[in-house]
C-alpha cells in the first residue's frame, strides 16, 4: 500500500524532454499551410504546361480547317481562364501568415475553401463543356485522316477520360480538398477562438 508521497517522489524523478524548439514549432505550423500553397502552385504549373502544349500544336502542324483553329482556341482560352482563376485563388492564401495575423488568415482560408468548392463545381462544368466543344471541333479535321476504328477509339478514349475526371476524380478531389482545408480551419479556429474565451 503506497501513500501520495510515493507518487510525488515518483513524479519528481520522472523527466521528459521537449523535442521541439521555438523556431521549429513556428516552422512546423507554417509548413502545414505551405503544403496547401504548394499543391495550389503545382495545379497552376500543370495548367500552364497544358496551355503551352495545346498552343504548341499551332507551331508544329499546319491545320487547314477553321474548326481545328476554333477548337484549339476554345481549349486554350478555357485552360487560360481556369489558370487565372486558380492563380487568383492561390493569391488569397499566398501572402497571409497564420503566425502573424491569425484572424485574417482564417478568413482567407475560408474564402479559399469556398472558391475551391466553386472551382470544382459550377466553374468546372463551364470548363468541361468548353473543353468538350474545343475537342469536338479539333477532332473534326484531325479524325478525317484516320481509319474509322481509330476515330472511334480517339473519341471514346478522350470523352471517356473527361467523364472519368468529371465524375470519380472530381468527387474524390473535392472530398480530399474539403477535408484538408476544413481540418486546418478547425485547428486554427480552435487555436484563436479558445484563447479569447479564457483570456
Amino acid at each position: 500500500m503506497q501513500e501520495f508521497d510515493h507518487i510525488e517522489a515518483l513524479w519528481a524523478k520522472h523527466t521528459v524532454d521537449v523535442t521541439i524548439s521555438a523556431d521549429e514549432m513556428l516552422k512546423q505550423a507554417k509548413k502545414e499551410v505551405s503544403s496547401i500553397r504548394t499543391k495550389s502552385l503545382l495545379n497552376i504549373a500543370g495548367m500552364i504546361f497544358s496551355f503551352l502544349a495545346v498552343a504548341a500544336l499551332w507551331l508544329f502542324f499546319d491545320f487547314q480547317s477553321w474548326t481545328t483553329h476554333a477548337g484549339i482556341s476554345i481549349i486554350i482560352i478555357a485552360v487560360g481562364v481556369y489558370t487565372v482563376i486558380l492563380y487568383n485563388n492561390y493569391r488569397i492564401i499566398s501572402k497571409s501568415d497564420f503566425t502573424v495575423n491569425p484572424n485574417e488568415f482564417i478568413a482567407k482560408l475560408k474564402l479559399y475553401q469556398l472558391n475551391r468548392f466553386s472551382l470544382y463545381n459550377r466553374l468546372y462544368w463551364f470548363y468541361a463543356i468548353a473543353l468538350s466543344l474545343g475537342m469536338a471541333l479539333y477532332f473534326f479535321e484531325i479524325l478525317g485522316h484516320l481509319d474509322l476504328w481509330a476515330q472511334i477509339l480517339f473519341v471514346v478514349l478522350s470523352f471517356g477520360w473527361m467523364i472519368f475526371c468529371s465524375t470519380l476524380v472530381r468527387k474524390a478531389v473535392i472530398k480530399k480538398d474539403k477535408e484538408r482545408i476544413a481540418l486546418l480551419i478547425e485547428k486554427f479556429e480552435r487555436i484563436s477562438g479558445q484563447f479569447h474565451e479564457h483570456q
Binding site: Q2, E3, I7, V18, T19, M25, Q28, A29, Q194
Partner: protein, 165 residues
C-alpha cells in the same frame, strides 16, 4: 530576429518543459503532447502583445495550456474519450514498462481521473503554488484545497488498485 521573436524564444525556453509535462501528463502520449505544446505556444505567440502583466507570464501560459488540453480532446474531430483513454493507457504501458513500471502505473492511474482533475494533479505534482493553480483553473483557493485533497486520495486509491492487478 525581431524583438518579439527573441522574447518568444526566451518564454518558450523557460516554460516549454513544464507545459510539455502538463500536456504529457494529460494525454500520456508524446505525439499528442507535442501537438498540444505547439497549439499552446502558437496562442502565446499570437497573443504576446496582449499580455498585460496582470499575472505571471507562466500562469498565463499555463491557463492557455489547460484550456488547450481540455478543448483538444473535446473537439469533434478527435476520437471518443473512452477510445482515447484506452489508447493512452496502451501507449503509456508500452512506453514506460521497460523503463519504469511504477511510472507507467502512475500515468495509467492519472488517465482514469476526470479531465480537470488530471490537469490539477499534474500541476500539483509539478509543485505549482496553490494560488497559481487556483488562478489557472479558475476556482477559489479554498475549493481548490478541498478538491486537491480529494484528487490525491482518488489517485492514491487508483494507483494502489492498479498496483495490485
Amino acid at each position: 530576429m525581431s524583438q518579439k521573436d527573441v522574447l518568444f524564444k526566451e518564454i518558450f525556453d523557460k516554460n516549454s518543459k513544464k507545459i510539455f509535462h502538463l500536456c504529457y501528463g494529460y494525454t500520456g502520449d508524446k505525439d499528442s503532447a507535442n501537438d498540444l505544446l505547439q497549439e499552446t505556444f502558437l496562442k502565446v505567440w499570437q497573443n504576446l502583445d496582449k499580455f498585460r502583466n496582470k499575472s505571471l507570464i507562466s500562469t498565463w501560459i499555463y491557463r492557455i495550456a489547460v484550456n488547450t488540453c481540455l478543448t483538444y480532446l473535446r473537439s469533434e474531430k478527435r476520437q471518443a474519450k473512452d477510445e482515447l483513454t484506452e489508447n493512452i493507457i496502451e501507449n503509456r504501458v508500452e512506453e514506460f514498462s521497460e523503463k519504469n513500471e511504477q511510472v507507467a502505473l502512475l500515468y495509467k492511474s492519472i488517465s482514469k481521473l476526470e479531465e480537470n482533475d488530471r490537469l490539477i494533479i499534474t500541476m500539483v505534482l509539478d509543485e505549482l503554488p496553490y494560488n497559481e493553480i487556483a488562478d489557472i483553473s479558475g476556482i477559489s483557493e479554498g475549493n481548490l484545497r478541498v478538491k486537491i485533497h480529494r484528487i490525491k486520495q482518488k489517485l492514491t486509491e487508483l494507483y494502489n488498485q492498479n498496483a495490485r492487478i
